[in-house]
Symmetry: C2
């Protein structure tokens, strides 16, 4: 099972649907020269740029797990694919606001939303640099809000039955509550001097990432295909474990990843002051001098590459990197045990999800 190829195949059919949705939205605007039209275009570029479309692909695979694809007509599958891109628009919403909050300048190998809009305002006559910066941020907030609204609009526009659409909308609403809950805890912990415990951190990963990245898309698909309550519960267990492992691995990449493949610097987590498991465990095991190095670098925008390398050395030598890598692997093993409890499901979808779990902690970006 080549997970990357499967994801790439789905991306090829999902991306044109994303473009079509935005093109329709732009066509609806009476005055094509106004800034709302331009902002919608910026959002189209931002959403379409890079990204692996993991969430839409999981909607599809969650559905496939419980539906025998051979009975489904083409129109239904088309509607399912369109609906799946709602999860990608939700992702654009979270990222636009998140990058403003984290002061991140880059995203998916290009500028983040507020930086992209700031750069545009910089080119306009009669607008000061200070105003262009604030305007970039303001429009990024609104672009995020718009992406969120569009995500739900995709569901309303779908030709699927209303009761099915209602279930998807309710799932998305509960997903948002969880994601915002996690995001608020995460952003707050980034500014306070206290360290989170491992348990608190994994709870944030669960709320902030696992639910919207893995659980919600899979369950949306599975519910649409008519999975029963017990099946949904097992799938949820699998999904949350994979999602937590994904976030632990993501934090590992955030310090040890390949910058070119990531599309962003591999020191930004450290400079932002993110209290990842790598940092928490290293602080637990390190000696006083090493702890000082970490505290000095954490949240310090001015550290050079030598300092960053010092922090990496401490994270390695204390065994913190191994701890974090092993934790992610163990979560994945556990997740697969849950998935294997599901019988009488589509073997191809099951095979994909088993391989997907491994992929989520093996990916380089």
């Amino acid at each position: 099972m080549d997970v990357m190829q499967e994801l790439l195949d789905y991306k090829k059919i999902a991306d044109p649907k994303i473009n079509e949705f935005f093109d329709d939205k732009i066509k609806e605007i009476e005055d094509p020269n106004n800034f709302y039209s331009k902002l919608t275009y910026f959002l189209k570029e931002y959403t379409g740029r890079g990204g692996k479309r993991i969430r839409p692909a999981l909607v599809y695979q969650g559905h496939r797990l419980f539906a025998d694809g051979s009975n489904l007509d083409e129109d239904y599958i088309k509607e399912l694919i369109i609906l799946s891109i709602a999860t990608e628009l939700k992702q654009a919403y979270y990222l636009a606001h998140d990058d403003y909050i984290d002061k991140s300048d880059e995203r998916r190998g290009g500028p983040s939303m507020h930086k992209m809009l700031e750069a545009w305002y910089m080119t306009q006559d009669g607008i000061s640099t200070e105003d262009a910066i604030h305007q970039g941020k303001s429009m990024a907030i609104l672009a995020g809000d718009l992406a969120n609204t569009f995500a739900e609009n995709i569901i309303f526009k779908s030709t699927l039955p209303k009761d099915k659409k209602y279930a998807v909308l309710e799932r998305l609403n509960n997903t948002d509550i969880s994601t915002l809950h996690g995001q608020v805890l995460d952003v707050h912990s980034g500014i306070t001097p206290e360290m989170s415990t491992e348990e608190e951190l994994l709870n944030i990963h669960l709320l902030k990432s696992a639910v919207y990245t893995v659980e919600s898309p899979l369950l949306i698909g599975a519910e649409l295909a008519g999975a029963n309550k017990e099946q949904l519960e097992i799938l949820s267990e699998y999904a949350l474990l994979v999602g937590k492992a994904f976030q632990v691995h993501d934090d590992n990449l955030g310090l040890f990843g390949d910058e070119e493949k990531l599309g962003k610097p591999a020191d930004s987590d450290l400079k932002e002051g993110k209290k990842t498991l790598l940092i928490i465990k290293a602080l637990e095991k390190a000696e006083a001098l090493e702890r000082n190095v970490i505290y000095y670098c954490l949240g310090n925008q001015d550290i050079d590459s030598d300092m960053i390398e010092d922090v990496r050395d401490i994270v390695r030598s204390t065994g913190s990197l191994d701890y974090s890598v092993n934790l992610a692997k163990n979560l994945i093993s556990e997740s697969k045990e849950y998935l294997n409890q599901l019988e009488d499901v589509n073997p191809k979808a099951k095979e994909f999800l088993l391989a997907f779990a491994d992929y989520m902690v093996a990916r380089k970006y």
Copy 2:
């Protein structure tokens, strides 16, 4: 018909429901000491503070217009009231983001959301002033996002039939698209040197204010009560005219209103650089020297009260204030003609809405 008394009466039954909703949300949180719990509490205080609950009251009156209240059981009315507060939470969402964008420090006689959160972070040990300011803004964005999510959550939690709830959710989604469309145009026009035309400005008022303040709440209520398509169209015409007049009047208050009653300074529109109808018309009619005074003051944070009084004098002497006041009155007259086309509706609700139209351009705050 005493509109203010009717609004006050509705506020008295709606406000406890707002508090109950938030208290339930806070109770659901496992760790009552975490910051998500605190942020939800901040949002409760912010939503409950001041405000006339116009939008929830309009949901109720829109429903009453087409439903004979005497047949309705108490539980149904209770559900309708709970559902109506979704519109108030949407308002909190818009205001939290809007005040960040407009750099407004005050709202409803207290600090705006980002200022309130900034002040809290200022009291915390080990957090720099710069970090507290950014943290205040970041949390205000998330508080707005949360209010939006909670607004929809109220609908999902309602015991009303699913098809009714689906209709409300779809109406809210279309409302958000309109509001964001208008907000994007408005925020963009605030930074560009060009003046909008009267037509462009009224279009922004329609998209940004009239739809979510008057049309959407009324139609939500009317649809729930089973109004037919033709009735909804007439009600929509009434609502959009009242909504536009409301915003024109709001801009008039923004320069000529009573600061104490408004709960915010009556020069903030000018200092923010808002291109209101007052400004657009004054620039059209004023002489070169007077135009210079307006251009100097517009968007200038450092002007003193003498300069503001000079601008007020120009707006009066050019007839721009009269023009704006008359336009609002004419929109209201037209709105009432539409409402009078509705026959066989509840006379008390109709009487309220006729008086409400007048109230919206007579209110002092």
